[in-house]
C-alpha cells in the first residue's frame, strides 16, 4: 500500500496535481491480497499524503480457469481447481492473479 500511495503521489505531482480524489485498483481473487486489508491499510496510511481525502476503488477480478484437456472455461470452486466438466487437473489459471493500479483521479 505504501508503494501504491507513493506511486500515486509521484504521478499526481508530475502532472501538476495536488489532491488525489480516487485510486482505482484491480485485484484478482487469487492474487493473495485481501481487499479488506488493502482498504484498511489505505485508511491507515493516507493521512498526511495527497490522498488524504481520496477514495479507494477496488475492482475484484474473479478467478477463471481454462482446462487444457477439454477446453472448458470456468470459475473454480474456492477449494477445488479441477475441471468441473472432465475432472482434469491439467488446467491453467487465466485470470485472478491481477494486482494492478488502474488509474488515478486528481485535482
Amino acid at each position: 500500500m505504501t508503494n501504491i500511495l507513493r506511486t500515486a503521489e509521484e504521478t499526481t505531482r508530475r502532472n501538476n496535481g495536488s489532491k488525489i480524489l480516487k485510486l482505482k485498483l484491480r485485484v484478482g481473487a487469487m492474487s493473495g491480497v485481501v481487499t479488506e486489508a488493502l482498504q484498511f491499510a489505505f485508511e491507515a496510511l493516507k493521512n498526511g499524503t495527497m490522498a488524504e481525502n481520496a477514495e479507494l476503488d477496488i475492482e475484484v477480478v474473479p478467478a477463471v480457469c481454462f482446462c487444457l484437456d477439454c477446453g472448458s472455461k470456468y470459475t473454480p470452486d474456492e477449494i477445488d481447481f479441477l475441471c468441473p466438466n472432465c475432472g482434469s487437473a491439467n488446467i491453467k489459471l487465466k485470470n485472478g492473479r491481477e494486482l494492478d493500479l488502474i488509474s488515478i483521479d486528481f485535482l
Binding site: N3, I4, M30, A37, F81, D100, I102, S103, F106, L107
Partner: protein, 303 residues
Amino acid sequence: MCKECGCEGGGEPRIDNTPAWDIKSPLSNLFNTSELHHHEDEEHGHLHNHDHHDGHNHDSHHHEHDTEHSHDHEADEHVHEHKTVELNKPILEYNDRIAERNRGFFIAKGIFVINMLSSPGSGKTTLVYETAKRLSGKLRIGVIVGDLATQNDADVLRKASIPVVQINTGTACHLDADMVARALVKLPCDNLDLLIIENVGNLVCPALFDLGENQRVVLLSTTEGEDKPLKYPPLFHTTNVAIITKTDLATAAGFKREKALENLKKISHHAVIFELSAKTGEGMDKWCQYLEKERAKVKSGGY
C-alpha cells in the same frame, strides 16, 4: 504484517546485521514513462487555455514578463482541474523486474534455486539442514534465510558447513526479489549448485513475490492439519513442489494422509509431492535425488 502487501508496518530489511544499502526508491523508476511526460506537456497547454475564462487576456496576464515569455505557465499552476491518469500497471512490477534479473543471473551461474515456503514451525530449517548434510560432496549448497528478526536460523544452518546469509526483514512478512539480490552479493555464487531461499514463515504474502527462483517448494507438516492447501490456495496453487514434513509425528497428530493428498491434488495438482521426516530420514533420499536431478536440468539448459 507489513506495508507492502496490505498490512501496516515497516522497517528496513537487514542482511546479516549489516544495514541494507541505501538505494533509490523503486517507485522513482516505476512509472517514469515517456507517455506521462507527454501527458504533462499536453496538460500544461490545457491549463493555460482554461485560465482565461475569467476575463484576463493573455497579454495582460503576462504583462510583467518579457513578451517572448509565451511559454511561462508557472503563474497558472494554481488552477486545477479534475484529471485522470490511466496507468494499468502491475503494482509489483518493480519486484517482478528484479526477480527476472535474479533469474537471469542464476541461469548464467548454473544455480538451481528453490524458494521454500511454509507456516512458521513446519520444519523448513531442519529440512534445509538435513538436506545440506545429505548432499554434502554432491551439490554445493548456499542458503538465504529470511526472518523478521534474529540470526538463529543462520546459526543453525552454518553448522552444516554451508554459506548462509540471514535477512532480517524487520516487520515485513515476506522476502522480495531485491532483498535476495542484495543477499546474493554475500554468497560465493561462482561455487554454488543449489541455492535454497528459506522464506519468512507465512503462507499468505510470500505468494505474491517472485524471487527469481526455479521452483517454489511449499511445506505442510503433519501437525498442521490436512486442510492447509484449501485454506491458502494462492500459495499452494503456485507451488511446484509440496512436501509433507514430520511424517514421524503423523500418527500422534492424527494426520489424515489420504485427505491431505486429496486436498493437495485439488489445489496443487501439478506439484510434485514428497512425504518425509527430516528427523528420522524417512523419504529424504527421494527428495535429495530430486534436487540433484533438477540441478542437472539447469546445467543442461533445461530451465
